[in-house]
Symmetry: C2
Subunit: 509 residues, 2 copies
């Protein structure tokens, strides 16, 4: 955020006292000034102007709101939490508020809107300004819309990936082979990552995994792992864990890898657009910044998954592999069944229970989760050069059955701060089959929505446990799934949604 | 803003007490709730969520911020001024805060992003949701970017124009011919409208003119007219003035004509994009909603005007005329010189002085303003059927020289509430020629910027008065222009800008 090159507070702009407002505005830097503030009048600043905050050698761009009355004293400027931490100010310090400089990179955004392709240097400037917080939502939406309306081509996608890597930190593990794995989202319960990391690390590979928290889903790998151990690792701790155990399961938010990605994702979520080029740059930039050299990508395919057809999956797979190669990364894509959730649990703690059952090689462990994890781990072992081609799956399975995966997983959790016991939900309620029949459809999107209404991922124990699989014959009154929540209010929300959407699991004859 | 069709507050969502925060956020509806608010937790609402506020039969969509500490009591929700007035709530009233319904029209925006053309029905839904405040900046920017990346075609531009008219009020004057005029912006001092209205009304035509305040310029017609009379007319007053005098000069903001236009313009200004289709829909929707049937459009052409080449002007002219015809409006475009400002004054009061000098037929009235006003008024007279083709200019000039324009202007001002005397600036400072030479260039954009730094349009008397014209020979030390401001601080801003941009008026040999 510091930008020494632009430190030119205009002559005569008086300083104001910074006040912490305790205002949570997500990422958005907001400042509040008095409606009758003399600086606003002198500078020509009005409500919702973009302003530049300067504290010594740091500058942050923020949105200005104005307030009537005496909540603020004359000479005060109140900062939102985001602005406060970005600027690194302490209460009562003198800061300057002025017009922000015009952004050269916006002319590239305008050129892109008007149909011109952008080169790596233009994209690098755009991403740098985005990460510095200089783009408003309007600018961000315009850039992402323009690069969806005329989709990013191969060259642009690779250039954007590199630009996103360059705008953050990059880890270096000093090894020729560093493996990673990624699942394209949208499939509830698809929690293979902890199992794959345990198998890869137990097999001698280096797999320093960083994962996200849930964005729109009921659980991300970081949410699930957090029910089992500490995932909030700084770089030094992460290094120590990986050097000792060959792998880790850390939350990516604590390290600054491809920070533009989080900003773009926030806007894409609002627009509900996620075009191929942006998605590829998002996935690959995180992997490259994490120091990975070889990555296996899981693409679930199904009508209610993110990728809906095999054709789309093959196209995405080819483009992912191409862009990865241009960025010096070896990628292999695996197409997988995306017609129903994986495992039984949906929600952080419920998914953690499935993961433990597989790792502990319990007889009632969900078979589909074990198979999918071994398939992906096998691909990782082959790609990492520790299994012959075609032998990865069996080798991965053996690591589980011999107990080596479970021991490695425990060792990693111990190194991260010790294992925790999985939280249990206070409230549970089964949803039973309204008739005899066969399970003919599962709606991944509505299953995810229901788990979120029950409180997942913030309420760690909340979510649902599926009691049937596709194709299974059920009898009237038999539980199809069980809902779990931490409060009765959330259970009521979930129940009400279910009444309006009874065909989350569809029965046929 | 009221939407009875969507009035379904979810069962069990408790009411909160509305508090007025006095927070100015421009158009944005914002609510602030406690970080530990039980409704937020129960509803899954986080900082910067979009929320739906419900008060009896009214609903407003707003952005949620959260605040720590005890500024708000438990059970309170604080509203920004925009949210407060849109919802029409009183302090302490019970309102509900919940998730907003999903917007069907956003799927049209997504289809447009992906390259599909939109029909009138889709555009109507989009514009209706925009006007109801249901689009965030992200959605607005996406829609405008998508319709710039793949420019609106003729059919879409006409459909958008009609949709924008339909989303607001429409005036009906019960006459077959209602004339209007519009100038494409970007040329300082181009204040012909008051003169044209006086001439048209004095010639028996109906010209119920609504004008905007300045958006990015140092003065809009409403700002200038406000120094001379009251322009804040409600519909009833406007009707009374027009029925008595045949014309009015009202601020358009007091009537709700094409309300989507103001919202789109705000976003376009941030992006600094103003593509042809959007601009045409903006201009024509306002005219149609105002009940006009015949409109003359002034297109200034010059390197630092909005339209930079004659080719661009001809293309714009053809498209404007076409779209107008599709919407049942007769439009005539006039290309005019846009290489330098019109008249002498730049800024509300300074432009008003020029207007009065022309209307009063004073010997030192700026000749270029008189000629341009007569040219446009002549076109209006011809289009309105009260002058023969080719005779309009001379007829308009005669209305001025015979004093009829001035009498009509005074009568209109009297009907609007009486004439005011033009305010005078407290501070003035000449800028003199640094050398002998000839004026070879005037930078319209920098002249406008300088007038704004001096305080225009908020400070009515601020701005500048040009003392030379293009081509004029000047001697070292002779004033090129004089700056006016209401405060010494604003004069300092303007002077400083001038030091950094001395070639606002360029001298050659």
């Amino acid at each position: 955020m510091s930008e020494t090159s632009q430190l030119s507070v205009r002559r005569g702009v008086p300083a104001l006292r910074a006040r912490r407002l305790g205002l949570h505005t997500q990422h958005q830097a907001v400042v509040v000034m008095r409606t009758d503030c003399h600086v606003c009048r002198a500078e020509g600043l009005a409500a919702r102007s973009q302003v530049l905050l300067t504290l010594r050698d740091r500058q942050v761009q923020a949105t200005l709101f104005q307030i009537d009355g005496d909540l603020l004293s004359h000479g005060d400027v109140a900062l939102s939490e985001a602005a406060w931490s970005l600027l690194g100010v302490t209460d009562g310090e003198q800061i300057h508020v002025s017009h922000p400089p015009s952004l050269d990179s916006l002319s590239s955004v305008r050129r892109r809107i008007h149909g011109n392709r952008l080169d790596e240097s233009s994209l690098t400037s755009i991403v740098r300004d985005v990460v510095a917080g200089r783009y408003t939502d309007v600018h961000l939406a315009a850039f992402l819309t323009a690069s969806s309306a005329l989709p990013l081509d191969l060259v642009e996608t690779a250039a954007l990936t590199k630009a996103m890597v360059a705008a953050g930190d990059k880890l270096d593990w000093g090894r020729a082979v560093v493996v990673d794995k990624h699942s394209i989202g949208g499939l509830p319960g698809n929690r293979t990552t902890p199992i794959v990391v345990a198998i890869a690390a137990a097999s001698g590979l280096l797999m320093p995994k960083t994962s996200s928290r849930a964005i729109t889903s009921p659980a991300g790998t970081a949410d699930t792992m957090e029910t089992l151990t500490n995932v909030d690792l700084d770089i030094a701790t992460m290094r120590r864990v990986v050097e000792a155990e060959g792998g880790c399961l850390a939350w990516g938010g604590a390290v600054r890898l491809s920070p533009a990605d989080d900003i773009f994702i926030r806007i894409e979520r609002v627009l509900d657009i996620d075009t191929e080029g942006q998605m590829i740059a998002s996935v690959l930039s995180k992997k490259i910044a994490a120091g990975s050299t070889h990555v296996v990508i899981d693409i679930p395919v199904g009508a209610t998954a993110k990728v809906r057809t095999k054709e789309a999956a093959l196209g995405l797979s080819a483009r992912l592999t191409d862009v990865a190669a241009q960025c010096g990364l070896t990628a292999v894509c695996k197409l997988n069944d995306g017609t129903q959730p994986v495992g039984r649990g949906v929600g952080p703690a419920l998914e953690a229970a499935d993961v433990l059952a597989v790792l502990q090689n319990l007889p009632d462990a969900p078979n589909d989760l074990r198979e999918r994890a071994c398939s992906l781990a096998g691909a990782v072992l082959e790609l990492g050069g520790v299994a012959d081609v075609g032998a990865g799956y069996q080798q991965a399975l053996a690591v589980i059955t011999e107990g080596r995966a479970w021991r490695k997983f425990q060792a990693i959790c111990d190194a991260q701060g010790g294992m925790r016991s999985i939280p249990l939900a206070a409230h549970s309620q089964p949803f039973t089959a309204p008739r005899d029949g066969r399970v003919i459809n599962m709606d991944n999107r509505r299953i995810a929505r229901l788990a979120k209404l029950a409180g997942a991922p913030d309420a760690k124990a909340a979510g649902l446990r599926l009691d049937v699989r596709l194709g299974q014959e059920v009898q009237r009154g038999q539980p199809l799934f069980t809902m779990f929540s931490e409060t009765s209010g959330e259970m009521a929300y979930a129940t009400e949604y279910l009444e309006r959407n009874p065909e989350i699991i569809k029965l046929g004859d």
